[in-house]
């Protein structure tokens, strides 16, 4: 694990004309901003602008680097994710959003060439430490993928899969209850309650995605990672999933990767902008979309890149 950057390493706030965003901050922490840095920001001493910390951190990544063989996909990224917070990761294709997301519950373990370094802590516990079982971690940090991937089993079994392997239900009645409430919360119950024994793969794309969400919340994770959960969905299904996220945010922390600014604006409280493996800017959603601090962020949200 690499050394951590001390809080005090943060340079003091620059004399910029732009008012820094107003996320709740500890007074000791101030932002690193000068005039909007231009796109020539170099790899070396790159610093995230905005505020990567948050008030009530639950999942904390510090100085994370990811290499796929010789490809340096994530470059010294630090980001804090608060309790019951929705944070959106945005950025052009290939900038490492999915890679970063997959670090957070060690899904990168199954990619042979991926090497992750840095500190990632869940509730203060290093998730890459030897003593931590990734299987337990993934039950605490659930993930929903870009492409719906229901198992070739019945709808019921899809949702019951997690509770079964984790032994969450004592008997059939309890399992039924978990399955129903998960489907209910995912907004799918009405549509499928009469055909729980039909294969999950027979549902429409949007229904499948909500099934995958139901499957994830059935194991009651503390954090839910969502990698472009709506990219295959129509606007109606998207709206349903977004509603669901609003609800879920009352209990869970949610990290969502999205290519839709509107979606990021609708669902998230904070936004992190990635560019070529760097975390360029983290700020309040409003700030990012109305008054981004970094030139690259501005270019991206105004449609000049990506």
């Amino acid at each position: 694990m690499s050394e951590r950057s001390a809080i005090d390493d943060q340079p003091a706030q620059g004399a910029s004309g732009i008012t820094p965003p107003a996320p709740v901050q500890e007074s000791a922490l101030v932002n690193a901003i000068a005039d909007k840095p231009d796109s020539s920001a170099t790899d070396g001493e790159f610093k995230t602008v905005g505020e990567y910390r948050c008030q009530n951190p639950y999942l904390v990544a510090e100085n994370v680097d990811v290499h796929y063989g010789s490809n340096h996909a994530i470059k010294n990224v630090s980001l804090e994710i608060g309790k019951k917070e929705v944070i959106a990761l945005i950025g052009p294709s290939g900038c490492g959003k999915s890679t970063f997301l997959r670090c957070l519950n060690r899904m990168n373990d199954s990619i042979e060439s991926a090497v992750v370094s840095g500190d990632i802590r869940l509730d203060g516990e290093d998730i890459y430490s030897k003593s931590l079982d990734p299987v337990v971690l993934r039950a605490r940090v659930g993930i929903v993928f870009q492409k719906p991937n229901p198992f070739p089993k019945s709808i019921y079994d899809n949702v019951a899969y997690g509770p079964r392997i984790h032994g969450l239900a004592a008997d059939r009645a309890e399992l039924d209850e978990i399955v129903h409430s998960s489907l209910e919360r995912a907004g799918l119950l009405e549509e499928v309650k009469d055909r729980l024994d039909d294969p999950g793969t027979g549902l429409s794309g949007g229904q499948q995605q909500r099934l995958c969400i139901a499957r994830t919340i059935a194991i009651n994770p503390e954090v839910i990672l969502m990698d472009e959960p709506c990219s295959a969905l129509d606007p109606i299904a998207t709206a349903k999933v977004e509603d669901l996220m609003d609800q879920l945010a009352q209990e869970y922390s949610i990290v969502i990767v999205t290519h839709s600014m509107q979606q990021a604006a609708r669902v998230s409280r904070r936004v992190a902008y990635f560019h070529l493996g760097h975390l360029i800017e983290v700020n309040d959603t409003d700030t990012v979309f109305t008054n981004p601090e970094h030139k690259l962020t501005e270019d991206y949200i105004t449609g000049r890149i990506g």
Partner: protein, 462 residues
Amino acid sequence: MQNTSLLIILIGMTAFAYFAGRSRSLAIVGGPARTTRLHSLPGYYGYFTAIWCLLPALGLLLAWILLEPRVIAALTVQGLSDTQRSMSAGELNLLLNNIQNLALGDAISGTADESLQAAADRFTQLTKQSRQLLAVLVFGLSGLAAFFAWRRIHPDFRARNSVENITRLLLLAASTIAIFTTVGIVLSVLFEALRFFQKVPATEFLFGLNWSPQTAIRADQVGSSGSFGAVPLFTGTLLITAVAMVFATPVGLLTAIYLSEYASKTVRSVAKPLLEILAGIPTVVYGFFAALTVAPWIRNTGEAAGLSVSSESALAAGLVMGIMIIPLVSSLSDDAINAVPTAMRDGALGLGSTRSETMRKVILPAALPGIVGGILLAVSRAIGETMIVVMAAGLAANLTANPFEAVTTVTVQIVTLLVGDQEFDSAKTLAAFALGLMLFVVTLLLNVLGLYVVRKYREQYD
């Protein structure tokens, strides 16, 4: 002119035709800058000309090579004296052979008298003329066809479509060769088998419990009239196949699971080629191994345990056959497992499953149809396997389910029926075809079923 030099010149002409066609198409529209006025890319006009230059001439050449010997032989025979021409077909053949050998300067039987020498000269002369004629015709046809094709080039001429059509026909021709061969084999086996069933009733063959196909060769010989109940062969085949599959299925499947999901890259890169070597060992070598190593070992172990084991046991043959089939089972299961999308794997892992839970609850169920299909293919391979059983399982047609006894299989009996002296239309020889037909039908069904299952399962994720 020799066929090879003919062919080389023809290829040269084809290349020339390609460039001629291509440049004509360009010249017609007025230079490479204006190729958009052509219906097809200039290359297609080249191919079109080249195909017409090559194919008809090639067809002629092939037909000529096939027919030439017969025509020349017929012409040579015409030049022979009447007495010689009235000889029996066999003698005439012999004579022709002699003439040919004399002409080519090989050793001949008998003495080379004057008439023979004359005939040989005539033969040489005819061959030479034929060659010359062939060269003229081939080059003439090639040039002429290419010329007409070249003349047809025109900006509106759909060269691409013509070339595509010709390509399609060529591919069709290639695939029909395989199909016709298969049909031919099936028909020949079928007809011989029908002849067998005229001598021995099909019911006796299919349900008879006694197999001893020895028949008397000469009428005055003492010998049994043979009995052709094939049930012991079927059960023997089944027994050995069962032993092989009981051994190969779990081992192969577990190997596939290990290699595809657990093994590190290095292990995989070593183990996979090793398995492929196992698949590449000739079955004769497996046969040695079964007969010389495994069978004695099984017998000794069995006797030490107080069992009576014959020295040629179904167990030995089955085990070694199982070893032979492991690579087949494992590579097909490996394919099936790898065909399960990574998304499925990620989904299971993302819900906090362990590797083995992922394997058992998600990947294996999803891959099961593919695995079953692979196993069916392996069974059909085991049923058709001959060499190992010939060497290790013996020839005794015992009707038994005891793997420690010697049994024999359908394939082994086919081999033994066809080696040795027999009249070709005796029931004994023909029985081989009936057995072959049975074998063919069973393996065909298994293959069709296996492929169907495999394919059906593939579609699920595409």
